[in-house]
């Protein structure tokens, strides 16, 4: 089952947010709670965490993309489905 990796509300208001670093590569497995992607806002960064374990199978917002609350950043495939 595919699970979206969604940008949570960082309290940014109308500020620009950017993807500053994908912390894992396509095809990497992550556990629930792992840091997956770094978001840059106003000179600081936040790490978006994996809400479920899975494999990163698709990146929707690449490095340097401007993103907003609620954007789907990528997709995690449940490990049982991808095996």
């Amino acid at each position: 089952m595919r699970v979206p990796l969604t940008l949570p509300d960082l309290g940014a208001g109308n500020e620009d947010l950017r993807v500053s670093c994908w912390l894992v590569d396509l095809g990497d497995a992550v556990d629930e709670g792992d840091r997956v992607v770094e978001i840059l806002m106003d000179g600081i960064t936040f790490d978006v965490l994996a809400e479920r374990s899975g494999t990163l199978t698709r990146i929707e917002r690449p490095l340097d993309a401007v993103v907003r609350t609620g954007d789907v950043l990528g997709w995690l495939e449940n490990r049982e489905d991808s095996e």
């Binding site: 949570p8 509300d9 960082l10 309290g11 208001g13 500020e15 500053s20 670093c21 770094e38 840059l40 106003d42 000179g43 600081i44 960064t45 936040f46 790490d47 978006v48 965490l49 340097d64």
Partner: protein, 296 residues
């Protein structure tokens, strides 16, 4: 291939990635409550206007630093993202709204700061006085003021002292050599004189000041400034990392690692300050309540 074609093919320089210690925790549910209170009461915060990196953490814990006298400043400081330009009318009901916010958020310690209002005869000092009293009428929260320099206007400074804030905070921001670039229209000695005046007029009011690192200062210069602050009776000092709020503001000269902040903090403590907070995310009003409590 023409020159224009070659230029189009040149990729933009890679963005400099921030050092790994400049990370913040994701906001907790309390943040939306704080945000709603601020919006409902039509209040400004330095948290938003100055793009404080601690905003999500502080607001998640239902604390904020209120910025009075509008959201437009009369100083062109190179480090600050608060808007500059035509100032706003001072609102007579703002003290009451600040006090209401303190009550709704359940604050035990509130920091009230302002834009600099060189256009006002008293620089906004009376408004500070009214805000402190308004909070005191509603609750027992300690009130810390973080003021501009009032252009050295002694009557204005005395008016704020008259309110007997629990902490009187005025930021030095940087070392004297960098004032022309970082803090234009401010005078280093004026900052020291303000803090000295508060300490002389009201020795029981703790005084506090803040510095930013990462603008090109040397460690020696930082220690000289701290020694100057100590000489005018300053008891508390905060030292944090300068972060460029927008590309239009001063670039960061250096990201100082946490261990270096720790080392600088230790050196500054040896100068005899009662309290020193030194770290990348330390700001003037960050954990201000805890600092004030520790001082007591």
């Amino acid at each position: 291939m023409s020159t224009l074609e070659i230029l189009h093919d040149v990729p933009p320089p890679p963005r400099r990635r921030l050092p790994p210690w400049l990370k913040r925790p994701l906001p907790a549910p309390g943040m939306s409550f704080t945000s709603q209170v601020i919006e409902d009461l039509r209040l400004e915060t330095v948290c938003e206007s100055a793009k404080c990196p601690n905003r999500t953490e502080c607001w998640s814990h239902r604390t904020a630093t209120f910025m009075i006298l509008g959201n437009v400043c009369t100083r062109p400081c190179g480090f600050c993202s608060v808007p500059k330009g035509k100032t706003e009318v001072v609102q007579a009901d703002e003290p009451a709204r600040v006090a209401e916010a303190v009550v709704r958020l359940g604050l035990k310690h509130v920091v009230i700061t302002s834009v600099t209002r060189d256009d006002l005869p008293d620089g906004g000092a009376d408004h500070f006085y009214e805000c402190v009293l308004a909070v005191r009428e509603r609750c027992n929260a300690a009130v810390e003021v973080l003021t501009p320099d009032f252009l050295g206007n002694e009557r204005a400074i005395d008016r704020v002292i008259e309110a007997r804030p629990d902490v009187f905070n005025h930021n030095t921001e940087t070392v004297p050599r960098l004032y022309h670039r970082v803090r234009r229209n401010a005078v280093y000695q004026r900052t020291l004189d303000l803090l000295a005046r508060v300490k002389h007029a009201a020795p029981e009011i703790p005084t506090k000041s803040g510095l930013m690192l990462g603008l090109g200062e040397t460690e020696e210069e930082i220690l000289e400034v701290c020694a100057d602050l100590k000489s005018v009776g300053c008891e508390m000092i905060t030292i944090g990392q300068y972060l460029q709020p927008t590309p239009a503001h001063l670039p960061v000269d250096r990201y100082v690692p946490p261990e270096e902040f720790d080392a600088i903090g230790e050196l500054v403590r040896k100068l005899g300050f009662k309290l020193v907070a030194s770290g990348p995310f330390v700001r003037s009003s960050y954990h201000a309540g805890e600092m004030a409590t520790a001082l007591a």
